[in-house]
């Protein structure tokens, strides 16, 4: 299953783009994180990051479905 992952802030710099297609064998948040960290080791150097699925912060076990909106959320710094 190929999903499109949105990137913001430093993650956009790491990816070199604001949106990235990812081929997922196992459709979960944990699997996505593992895959991304293999492909982009710099992700492991940032303070932390979360995955949002359909505009909600998602836990490691959360499944990802085909048409979900998935985003990588590095440490926020608004305000």
């Amino acid at each position: 299953m190929t999903i499109e992952v949105l990137a913001f802030g430093i993650v956009k710099d790491i990816f070199g783009r604001s949106s990235m297609p990812v081929e997922l064998d196992e459709p979960s948040v944990a699997a996505l994180k593992k895959l991304l960290e293999q492909k982009y080791p710099r992700l492991k150097q940032i303070a932390s990051y979360m995955i949002a699925v359909n505009n909600e912060y998602a836990g490691a076990e959360q499944p990802i479905n085909m048409h979900d909106e998935v985003a990588i959320i590095p440490p926020v710094s608004g305000g």
Partner: protein, 139 residues
């Protein structure tokens, strides 16, 4: 009970935010205005750039406002957040909270800005003379 949550790429209108929450039923308004400082840890800041994951940022700010309404007897809340390039002295965020009594207005306003900085997907890049950095990105 009403909340107005907006992300804008133009200068925030502080007077508008305050007038929006004023009401004959309220006795106290607390307003927090964030401003761009000229220094971070002693280093001169030239400007900031704010980026937002807009849909989710709005939804997270709405959750914060909802929680504030659950927790305190508030009359109305306005949260406006900037995106784009901001120069020193400009305003990234305005939060205005009106309540019958000032305790609720102060506590809720503080809660909203503190929580916004923890959970709302907005990112700030500081631009210095010799480089730039995404704030809080690295340990």
């Amino acid at each position: 009970m009403k909340a107005e949550i907006k992300i804008l790429d133009v200068a925030l209108d502080i007077s508008y935010c305050i007038e929006s929450v004023m009401s004959p039923e309220c006795g106290g308004i607390d307003v927090f205005i964030g401003t761009v400082r000229n220094k971070t840890k002693g280093k001169t800041v030239l400007r900031l750039e704010f980026e937002a994951y807009e849909k989710m940022a709005i939804s997270e700010m709405q959750k914060i406002a909802d929680h504030a309404f659950d927790r305190w007897p508030l009359h109305s809340v306005v949260v406006h957040h900037r995106t784009g390039v901001l120069n020193v002295g400009e305003v990234p965020v305005v939060i205005a909270v009106a309540a019958a009594h000032r305790d609720a207005a102060f506590e809720a306003c503080r809660y909203i800005i503190d929580t916004l900085k923890q959970t709302v997907p907005i990112w700030k890049k500081e631009i210095f003379e010799d480089g730039e950095v995404w704030v809080a990105a690295h340990p």
